[in-house]
């Protein structure tokens, strides 16, 4: 026997499922009575949402002075939260588009879920640019609308590119999500017994009958949208990184920012998917579809992207020293040892060190530990944006203008409130839409492969992997 054990690929769907049992497992959730616990959760989420509405209302009434911004720190929690939420919103399209192009069949278990999360996270992110302008009643000045003052947005500014990038990303993600939903909505329509559901799901399933021609069009549309969405995964956070990197602020202006931000975004997005997935699969009993094997694969992505982020931190630090530029050197020393050292080391611990536990297979497969790390990662990624934004501004070129930045209660309320928006949307999604891409999961189970049926009797024969006996002697 060999020293090393060959382990065949685990089945994507666990348990003894066939097509109809999968249908019941996923769509019963949308068809049954609304559970009481859902109402309770919804109330909690709505309370947080109200908190956000109050915080924003007061902001519009009083102005951005209620935030903790000072001179020199003119960018604070608003942009931190914006970048954080947009970053989280990267996992969904990565899973659905890039992993689709890579033919990673395991994505089918989590893509619907992750895409929904993406859309809601981008909505939360969109709140901040909209409200931060101070005079919200002239927010339309952000758009190139002809006006008698001849005022135009500055097309040289990455902040404007951001508006285009994020809105394109949101639109394509939403379309992609919806196209994927159509066959599953039709399934619910067909199973629904009451009039309201039949009509509502009927409208949104666009007359889907599952005919060959429908599937042909569906696959084409899906492929094209995947191709379009793939560059968008990269472009959104690249342009977010440009917001910082095109400037001359030490610690912001560094060329590695684009790929480093993208890696960080995927890192935090996967962590958020895991956090939600671990809870949802327990509550809704989806462990046969969202298996521990899926969790392990996602943990590997977290390990890889976390290490990429670590690579970028090290490169930045090294080049800051190597550049010989005094201000670059100073800002990195200040980050690690200055007034915000606590934030810097929180970031390092959460983002670089904590994912390294996933080198261990045992920890990758531990549900509790994964849940813990998935939250730690998102705390770390929040601190990353805090460190980048605040430290570089608070300690700028002139020491006489340095100041310490602290948020106010309104900053905190707005941020916490966005969770209300996020969870409200997410709970609605869980209640009314199939949380698993049912048609896609069905397509990857062995029952769907015509090779697994006997040619003559047409009976299903489960596929087997025959592992050859190793030869001790060389042939």
């Amino acid at each position: 026997m060999s020293k090393y054990q060959y382990v065949p690929e685990p089945a994507l769907v666990k348990g003894d499922h066939d097509f109809s049992s999968l249908t019941r497992l996923v769509t019963d959730i949308n068809l049954r009575e609304t559970p009481k616990a859902w109402y309770l959760a919804m109330m909690g989420a709505n309370a947080l949402l109200m908190l956000m509405v109050v915080a924003i209302g007061y902001l519009i009434w009083e102005g951005t002075g209620i935030w903790g911004l000072n001179n020199p720190v003119g960018w604070g929690w608003a942009i931190i939260n914006f970048v954080w939420w947009v970053g989280i919103g990267h996992a969904g399209t990565l899973i659905s588009a890039i992993l689709f192009l890579f033919r990673q069949d395991w994505r089918t278990a989590i893509n619907r879920f992750a895409e929904a999360m993406t859309i809601f996270a981008v909505m939360c992110a969109g709140v901040f640019p909209a409200i931060h302008v101070g005079r919200i009643w002239v927010v339309y000045w952000m758009f190139p609308i002809p006006n008698q003052m001849a005022m135009w947005p500055n097309f040289n500014s990455p902040l404007l590119w951001d508006v285009f990038a994020v809105s394109t990303y949101f639109t394509v993600s939403l379309l992609f999500w919806y196209v994927g939903l159509v066959p599953d909505l039709a399934t619910i329509r067909d199973r629904a017994t009451d009039k309201i559901r039949k009509v509502a799901y009927g409208i949104f399933s666009l007359g889907w009958t599952g005919s060959n021609r429908h599937w042909w069009n569906y696959e084409k549309a899906y492929m094209i949208l995947a191709g379009l969405a793939t560059p968008l995964v990269l472009s959104v956070h690249t342009i977010v990184s440009f917001d910082f990197a095109v400037s001359m602020i030490p610690g912001w202006h560094t060329t590695i920012f684009p790929p480093y931000f993208v890696a960080g975004a995927i890192f935090s997005g996967f962590a958020m998917v895991l956090t939600l997935m671990i809870v949802a699969r327990k509550i809704y009993g989806m462990k046969d579809i969202m298996t521990d094997d899926h969790m392990e694969k996602m943990n590997i992505v977290i390990l890889v992207t976390g290490s990429m982020v670590g690579f970028a931190y090290i490169m930045e630090f090294f080049i800051a020293w190597y550049s010989g530029v005094e201000y670059e050197k100073a800002i990195f020393m200040l980050r690690a040892t200055g007034p915000y050292a606590w934030a810097y080391w929180a970031m390092m611990t959460c983002n670089v060190f904590s994912p390294q536990f996933f080198w261990s297979k045992k920890l990758r497969r531990s549900v509790g530990f994964t849940f813990f790390i998935s939250i730690v990662v998102n705390i770390g990624m929040w601190f990353e944006r805090f460190v980048i934004t605040v430290t570089s501004l608070a300690n700028d070129y002139l020491p006489s203008s340095w100041d310490y930045y602290s948020p106010t209660i309104w900053d905190v309320m707005t941020y916490v409130g966005t969770f209300g928006l996020f969870f409200t949307m997410f709970l609605l999604f869980l209640r009314f839409l199939p949380m698993i891409a049912l048609a896609e999961v069905k397509a990857v189970i062995p029952l769907a492969d015509p090779h697994n049926y006997d040619e003559e009797t047409n009976e299903y024969v489960a596929p087997k992997v025959e592992v050859p006996e190793p030869q001790s002697e060389k042939v």
């Binding site: 060999s2 690249t238 095109v246 060329t255 790929p259 190597y322 090779h451």
Partner: protein, 403 residues
């Protein structure tokens, strides 16, 4: 399952092939001619050598990361190509001797190695270079080269050896060992390649710096790796080898990767340029400034057009990736422009007043290229041309197009 694919091709590269010998011959002639050039113009010799050395090392390094990524992702698409990549990686420890001339040429190549720059109070004193001297000094430079090649050489040798062992013993468990080597290997690779990029190319201009340069160095090499694979496969097919094993559907995947990393290259190269251009800080823009005048700018425009725009537009179409003429043409184009881009990075250090091209650039390329591919074919013919007992081989052979 009744439809097990079988291999009908011979798996041995013809043992009596004259190819390695001929390549070594070209290599020897090229190297001897280049060495003669050393006595005529030492600076030119070392710069020409560095450009070609970087070009071929980049192929071997890209092959190494490709093999490691293939193992770690348990991929099946590229099993039929893996032995080609492995034959490159298995030679890295031998290829390491070709870094020695660069070590002898530190003084000619790298301005930072001049000790008078570090002497405070003299006219030559350079404050910036002197600040970097803990990193940029000849001793540490040599130590770093030893570390890089020790890591790459070990990984490449080991991955090839275990893979060949799997051919012989049919022991699928070895795929677990290959993953165990690859996982930390990828991490080590990331850092060593980034720093090799800093050492070989970025430090030619010791004042300039870019945090992206390591990624950029990887991106140019990795894009140029796919053309090499495509052309090798076409060559094998022309010899009548593996024609039924490596099918069009497999080559299509190489084309898809080629396309993907064409975009990746453009993304990285453009981001680096845009950020430096936009901030317009003198310590950063000067590097581009020197490379955008005196005729050097045409190489930059050439990269933009022939390394990104043309292959992007051509390979975007699905049918183009199934067409051998187009794929071969694009491969040749990108390889030429890859050489031009390394040339564009390195040579303006020597010729900051204008474009210059020497016969030594050609002889060094032929010399190192001859040896590099001679070593490759010598290695390649010793074992089966595909990992015949790989657990994923069956999946790979029964591959079909996704519609």
């Amino acid at each position: 399952m009744s439809h097990k694919p079988t291999i009908t091709d011979t798996l041995q590269f013809p043992a009596d092939s004259k190819v390695p010998g001929a390549l070594f011959g070209v290599g020897a002639v090229g190297l001897i001619a280049t060495i003669i050039g050393y006595f005529l113009d030492a600076d030119q010799f070392f710069f020409s050598y560095l450009v070609s050395f970087t070009f071929f090392s980049g192929i071997a390094l890209s092959a190494l990361i490709m093999v490691m990524l293939h193992h770690i992702t348990k991929s099946s698409w590229g099993v039929v190509f893996r032995r080609i990549s492995e034959s490159f990686t298995a030679n890295i420890w031998i290829w390491a001797i070709f870094v020695v001339p660069i070590l002898f040429g530190i003084h000619n190549l790298y301005h930072w190695s001049h000790p008078e720059l570090l002497e405070y109070g003299t006219e030559e004193y350079d404050k910036i270079v002197s600040g970097k001297s803990p990193f940029l000094n000849s001793t540490f430079f040599i130590i770093r080269q030893v570390i890089y090649f020790a890591i790459w050489g070990f990984l490449g040798y080991k991955l090839h050896k275990v893979s060949v062992q799997m051919d012989e013993t049919n022991d699928w468990g070895l795929s677990a060992l290959l993953r165990k080597v690859s996982a930390p290997g990828i991490l080590l690779f990331a850092f060593t390649v980034a720093f090799a990029g800093f050492d070989w190319l970025m430090s030619l201009d010791p004042h300039w710096f870019s945090t992206m340069f390591g990624v950029y160095f990887f991106a140019i090499n990795f894009q140029a790796f796919w053309p090499i694979m495509i052309l090798i496969v076409f060559y094998l097919h022309k010899q009548g080898l593996l024609t039924n094993t490596i099918r069009q559907v497999h080559i299509y995947d190489l084309g898809a990767w080629f396309f993907a990393f064409t975009v990746f290259y453009a993304y990285i190269a453009f981001s680096q340029f845009l950020l430096i251009y936009y901030a317009n800080l003198p310590e950063e823009t000067l590097w581009y400034y020197h490379r955008m005048e005196g005729g050097w700018q045409y190489l930059l425009y050439g990269s933009l057009i022939f390394r990104f725009a043309v292959p992007f537009l051509v390979l975007l179409n699905r049918e183009a990736k199934k067409n051998r003429m187009i794929l071969g043409g694009m491969s040749a184009l990108v390889l030429i422009i890859h050489f031009a881009e390394i040339y564009w990075i390195a040579m303006p250090t020597l010729y900051d007043h204008g474009f210059s091209f020497s016969w030594m650039d050609i002889t060094a390329f032929l010399g190192l290229g001859g040896v590099f591919f001679g070593l490759f074919f010598r290695q390649f013919k010793q074992n089966d041309m595909i990992p015949k007992n790989d657990p994923k081989l069956e999946d790979c052979l029964s591959k079909s197009y996704h519609q």
